[in-house]
């Protein structure tokens, strides 16, 4: 009996080991030949290959989250699983870089007469801070945003995004499975922002809500595979009476595409469905001509949070130029190569406060 059970034990162990190892090699996402290519450290390449090609990755993560995250209430990769949502927390905040970015914006403001406003939105961890247990380290986003606004120079205005979102926190303003706001969250942000800018926002009743996708699993779910929260839905706000877009042109490197909408439904077949808004961060610059007869031109310098909000700005401006500083810098260009700030009626610099502390691309404001 002992011998038979030992045999079962050995066979069971090696069956699992060999099955998973062979699956990694044969059915893995990456090609094994990549390990033996001449570039890079073979140790790093091997470890990367194994971690990316090991089978049942999502199932393993789900099992881990179920046992560790749910039982201990701990964050996993800085993601906290609340009862029905995942919240990405930020224990560290690069204050130096954030303040340095404010300095660059102040310098930029001195070079142009166009009014500039900085819009810093909180992430879900800022809005749902009361849902996080006291023992979880998290950046005080409201405090950070206020201290950054305090450092803004004369030529730069600040727009509060925290309280509009905080007061609407019981609505569906953040995805349950992603660290981004929903289109409703973006609407509340827009509504308050326009008032602060002295304009009248359009009421929600002016929009039809299109339930574009009801099975969105964001990047936080992809990391943890947490079964405790439902899938998200992506809803698109469309003006009731007529389209507000004449033409949208998107640019990156030497590529240019045209479209008739700021919504790109092809993203529903891509890795991140949330790229439906202005193609996510795939393009460096967008030039949007609208049907508005306001005669106003807007330059929007943005992080990824702004993509969802752009649709609400269309009726207010005749032309909107959207610039992604990270991509522009990666292309080796400055803002002057992409747009003339003085030719706009308003410049909005819109980020979530976390991305704002991580980007090192505001040197695009300096001419070469």
């Amino acid at each position: 009996m002992k011998r038979s059970l030992n045999l079962i034990s050995i066979a069971g162990f090696f069956t699992i080991i060999i099955m998973l190892a062979v699956s990694t090699l044969i059915f893995g996402r990456d090609s094994l030949s990549g390990i033996f290519s001449s570039d890079g450290d073979i140790r790093v390449k091997t470890e990367t290959f194994i971690s990316s090609s090991f089978p049942l990755d999502s199932n393993w993560r789900s099992l881990h989250t179920m046992i560790y995250g749910a039982v201990t209430g701990e964050t996993i990769n800085d993601v906290f699983s609340d009862e029905d949502r995942l919240i990405k927390v930020y224990p560290d905040y690069d204050r130096d870089r954030a303040f340095s970015n404010v300095g660059l914006i102040n310098n930029f403001a001195r070079k142009t007469d166009t009014p500039i406003s900085l819009v810093l939105a909180p992430t879900a961890a800022g809005v749902y801070r009361d849902s996080l247990p006291d023992y979880i380290e998290n950046t005080d986003q409201l405090g950070i945003i206020n201290s950054l606004y305090y450092k803004l120079g004369k030529g730069v205005g600040s727009i509060d995004m925290f309280y509009p979102l905080y007061s609407a926190k019981d609505d569906y303003i953040f995805y349950r499975t992603s660290d981004c706001w929903t289109s409703l969250g973006a609407y509340y942000a827009y509504e308050d922002m326009m008032r602060q800018l002295g304009a009248q926002p359009y009421d929600l009743s002016n929009y039809d809500l299109e339930y574009a996708d009801d099975s969105y699993y964001g990047e936080l779910y992809q990391q943890l595979r947490y079964m405790g929260c439902e899938e998200d839905s992506i809803n698109l706000f469309r003006p009731k009476f007529s389209s507000t877009v004449d033409e949208v042109k998107l640019y990156r490197d030497n590529e240019e595409i045209s479209a008739a909408s700021v919504y790109f439904k092809s993203a529903f077949n891509s890795a991140d469905k949330n790229d439906v808004y202005l193609h996510g961060s795939d393009y460096t610059r967008a030039e949007i001509d609208t049907t508005s007869e306001s005669g106003l031109r807007l330059l929007l310098i943005k992080g990824h949070y702004a993509n969802t909000l752009v649709a609400f700005l269309l009726p207010h401006y005749e032309h909107i130029t959207v610039i992604d500083p990270d991509r522009l810098k990666a292309e080796g260009r400055t803002l002057a190569d992409a747009a003339d700030p003085d030719s706009y009626d308003r410049i909005l610099i819109m980020y979530d406060c976390v991305q704002f502390s991580r980007t090192d691309s505001f040197d695009i404001f300096n001419n070469k």
Binding site: L5, G12, F14, L20, V71, G73, Y135
Partner: protein
């Protein structure tokens, strides 16, 4: 060693080649596997281990062939070289445990590399050379087998420390048997589970609480944190030793146990015997006993004990925190020695409780890099204040109660007693349950590895 790559790729490939090699070539295969494991992190790691092996082999050769005086001189050289390797390379990757970094303020150029196993192969080389010099047993004629012993790769992370005379039979004829293979797999899987499911999460508790200002903590949080650190340290060490034992058994080597319910010990001397017992035996045989007067082996001698304790400190690292902790150990061991007659009259359970309280009370000295932080933490532990509104104690009780319970159960003797009694009742039930538990733990460990749970040795 605790990684998907090691478990799912290195292990089956090594075992297949090792089994196919046949008894004659298995030592060669074992040695090549060791070269691969050590060299995988950095080829520079191979330099000190090769030197240690070569000097160990040559010292044994010289002891056998050369006059006694020359052999003694060569032994001294071998011991010095290994001691230097231990001091400079063990834990050299970590700045605050790098001797050069401590002394000069500048880490050595090679401190970026991880010199895996410097704390183990140096001890193997010294004990082997010394034993041959003392004519305890005959030297190993084969360089490959000597190299296999000195650089015994499964043990290189944190032991157990092996003795040549206890594995020479297995080195001569490494036999893969079903029983050893099954026992080895079990030990290996239990090792992975202890590391990933118990040690790493408990270390998170320590990290989370110790990151808070001590003034904001209550005494209860501090005790919970110290207990978490203590259990995490124990299970991390034990996990790697179990993995080493598992690999050794699978390859046909009988391996010693390195831990024997240390927290059930009735005193600090017993604690040291039970925690890393092979290291304790090594220090006893190669430092303490040679320093004791020849005609008095029975009584404890403080200078020899001091030397053995200093060795223990260096083995764990060169950082200031280890010196302070070593001093703490020396104090309690001295006190224990002075009051030994009185202590024998005290009930074992009571002594064990006191030992654990004092051990936890001193543990922050090893856990904090700044002694001032450690002292503040210890003061808070014994202040018995600040419980009102303490969120961290509540956090531990609410979130980690089950993990603490499991860890304490397995760290103390009761789990052992239950297992032994259960075995006596019906060994067949245990044998049926074991493969099921083993499979569940293997799958859970894989899940924890895939989710990116810390893999490296944490202490």
């Amino acid at each position: 060693m605790v990684s998907i790559g090691y478990l799912y790729f290195f292990l089956p490939v090594f075992m297949a080649l090792y089994a196919l090699a046949g008894q004659k070539y298995r030592p060669v295969m074992f040695l090549l596997a060791g070269v691969f494991v050590v060299g995988w992190d950095s080829v520079f790691s191979l330099i000190p281990i090769v030197l240690s092996i070569v000097f160990g082999y040559l010292s044994a050769l010289v002891s056998e062939k050369a006059p006694r005086k020359a052999a003694g001189a060569f032994l001294a050289l071998t011991v010095l070289l290994n001691a230097a390797a231990l001091v400079f390379f063990s834990y050299s990757r970590y700045y605050d445990t790098d001797l050069s970094g401590r002394l000069t303020g500048h880490p050595l150029p090679f401190s970026d590399y991880h010199f895996i196993g410097a704390g183990i192969y140096t001890l193997h080389s010294i004990s082997y050379s010394a034993d041959i010099f003392m004519k305890k047993y005959e030297r190993e004629k084969s360089f490959v087998k000597t190299a296999c012993y000195i650089g015994f790769f499964p043990c290189l992370i944190c032991g157990p420390v092996l003795r040549y005379d206890r594995i020479k039979e297995d080195l001569a004829h490494p036999v893969i048997s079903y029983d050893r293979m099954a026992d080895g797999i079990r030990a290996l899987v239990y090792g992975f589970a202890q590391k990933l499911i118990i040690a790493s999460p408990l270390l998170t508790v320590w990290q989370r609480i110790s990151a808070v200002k001590t003034a904001d903590l209550s005494f209860a949080s501090c005790w919970f944190a110290a207990a978490a650190f203590s259990l995490a340290m124990y299970f991390d060490f034990k996990a790697y030793c179990d993995i080493a034992k598992g690999m050794g058994l699978m390859a046909g080597f009988s391996m010693p146990d390195n831990f024997s319910a240390p927290f059930s010990a009735g005193g600090f001397n017993e604690l040291m015997k039970r925690f890393c017992s092979t290291l304790y035996e090594w220090a006893r045989d190669y430092i303490y006993r040679p320093l004791c007067p020849k005609n008095d082996k029975e009584n404890i001698h403080l200078p020899a004990m001091l030397a053995a304790s200093v060795f223990g400190v260096i083995w764990f690292g060169i950082g200031g925190r280890y010196f302070v902790w070593g001093l703490f150990f020396l104090l309690v061991l001295t006190f224990e020695y002075i009051s030994r007659k009185l202590l024998t009259k005290v009930n074992h359970v009571l002594r064990s409780v006191f030992m654990n309280i004092i051990f936890l009370g001193g543990l922050p000295l090893a856990a904090f890099s700044a002694p001032a932080d450690a002292l503040r933490f210890i003061a808070k532990m014994f202040s018995f204040s600040g419980l009102a509104g303490d969120v961290y104690a509540l956090y531990v009780v609410k979130n980690y109660f089950v993990l603490y319970f499991i860890a304490i159960l397995f760290a103390f003797a009761p789990a052992r007693l239950v297992r032994t009694n259960f075995n006596r009742l019906n060994p067949n039930i245990v044998r049926i349950v074991q493969p099921i538990v083993q499979t569940i733990l293997l799958l859970l460990s894989t899940a924890f590895l895939c989710a990116g749970q810390p893999e490296g040795f944490m202490f």
